[in-house]
């Protein structure tokens, strides 16, 4: 569809007159209410995201040959202990120096920039695998990545942290881990299970249920 430029630089659809400045402002003020604004509710990702959300290189934040590349892998289980075949996970983390990268390129790996973001759909057996770098430690000394989980049946996605623990290394501790009951703390640990490989299973419900997180914020 042909487009023309509007006064505010936004493309206008053909057939639409460009907005005047006053009209633009009126449009922008359309959103009713004053802050804090009430959030938009979640809805399940459903079963049919597979043709839309996964992208080439999504699970590979770095190539397998990159120095320091590690595997973060696991299986997603439901409340019956069965693997979940239609989940998708996202990973968000700092780089090896603990820096948060604010660079585009997460959907275009050919650019070769480590952006700290990855997305991996599980396979039919519920397994997933990211290739990434070990995130640098935060002030507490803990190294962790943030993971989100989406699936059919989850009305709202779940968020957790995967704390990396190398073989022979002491378990990390920080403000969150201290607040979690000792018998559930292990669900937050991505333990080394081989050379440059860490395992992190996600149990949505039941025995060994993963600790999921919620964050205070404006309502």
């Amino acid at each position: 569809m042909a487009t023309t430029e509007r006064a505010d630089g936004q493309p206008a659809l053909s057939g639409q007159e460009p907005l005047t400045a006053a009209e633009s402002i009126a449009r922008q003020e359309d959103l009713s209410g004053t802050p804090p604004l009430v959030q938009t509710p979640s809805q399940t990702i459903g079963p049919f995201f597979g043709f839309a959300l996964p992208f080439e290189g999504g699970p590979e934040l770095v190539p397998a040959t990159a120095p320091g590349a590690i595997r973060l892998h696991g299986t997603v289980f439901d409340g019956a202990g069965e693997p979940v075949p239609d989940a998708i996970l996202e990973l968000w983390q700092a780089d090896e120096g603990g820096n948060i990268v604010q660079e585009p390129g997460s959907r275009y790996r050919a650019r070769g920039v480590f952006t700290g973001f990855g997305r991996a759909a599980v396979l039919a057996d519920g397994t997933f695998e990211f290739l990434t770098l070990l995130p640098g430690p935060v002030a507490s000394g803990a190294r962790y990545a943030v993971l989100t989980l989406f699936a059919r049946g989850l009305t709202h996605h779940l968020i957790t942290r995967a704390y990396f623990v190398a073989e022979g290394e002491a378990e990390p501790t920080d403000a969150l881990l201290e607040r979690v009951d000792a018998d559930r703390r292990g669900t937050l640990l991505a333990r080394q299970d081989g050379p440059a490989s860490y395992r992190f299973d996600v149990r949505i419900q039941g025995d060994g249920e993963t600790v999921f997180l919620d964050y205070p914020g404006p309502r």
Binding site: G46, R107, G153, A175, L176, F212, D214, G217
Partner: protein, 254 residues
């Protein structure tokens, strides 16, 4: 094995949960995670309370996307094939803001949907309605400096699913959004005004508050409608992250 509950039984369950939630006095602005009328949620919700945590720096930031990640033509779902797709061409536009009213700028917004017949291109969609060789049903865009976005697409059809006997989803477009913080991440669905299937749908109804459900329904806006081309819908989105289902006094220790 498909659930053989009737629509009347599912509707009764929906109304019962709604009544109980209303009595609890909680502000419930997101769907319930444990929502039996939506059968797939039964084994896919945590039974422990979520642990409330103050976000650290990584959680207060979000991935960055740019024009290297999204082509401008991806926001028009009607131009991805040699010919025009079948169905009712629509424009969907709106703004993405955070809870403080700040625009969510230059952030990735992804959409996916069924075609005009209610059929997804996804290989596991078994609905015996025709695929449209001229419609994939996937779009992407980056929000503008004012948080605005615009898609051109086809109005999706309603479609049957196996939750219960004669279950049909209201017409919807799936949206995936990144906010100003990773904890603001949101995946949701946009609906169209006046859909007769709203009251029957356990996914839409998984949000117990009517005012919150209404936030998922776009507004028909004749000022957006382009003569001879497409009808226009407006839908604004607010990303704040917190599930906001806590009791008032639960904020005490933060």
């Amino acid at each position: 094995m498909p659930d053989e509950a009737t629509q009347a039984e599912i509707t009764a369950e929906i109304r019962e949960v709604e009544r109980r939630t209303g009595e609890s006095g909680r502000a419930v602005r997101h769907p319930l995670r444990d929502y039996a009328p939506y059968r797939s949620s039964i084994l896919r919700h945590p039974t422990h309370e979520l642990i409330k945590v103050d976000p650290e720096e990584i959680e207060r930031t979000a991935p960055t996307f740019g024009h290297v990640d999204v082509d401008p033509y991806e926001s028009d779902l009607t131009v991805q094939h040699p010919a025009d797709p079948l169905g009712e061409r629509i424009i969907v536009t709106g703004r993405v803001l955070d809870g403080d009213g700040r625009p969510v700028r230059n952030q990735l917004l992804e959409v996916w949907q069924a075609n005009a017949s209610g059929r997804y291109i996804h290989k596991r969609d078994q609905h015996p309605a025709p695929l449209d060789p001229n419609f994939t049903g996937v779009g992407r865009t980056l929000t503008g400096d004012d948080g605005s976005y615009t898609f051109v697409t086809i109005k999706p059809g309603p479609y049957p699913w196996k939750n219960h006997r004669n279950a049909w989803r209201p017409a919807h477009i799936h949206f995936s959004l990144f906010g100003n913080a990773f904890t603001h991440r949101l995946v949701t669905q946009m609906y169209f005004p006046g859909d007769p299937l709203f009251a029957l749908d356990p996914i839409y109804q998984s949000i117990p508050e009517q005012a919150a459900r209404d936030r998922l329904i776009a507004t028909y806006d004749h000022d957006l409608t382009v003569p001879e081309i497409a009808t226009g819908y407006r839908w604004d989105i607010v990303l704040t992250g917190s599930t906001a289902t806590w009791m008032e006094d639960e904020h005490g220790d933060h």
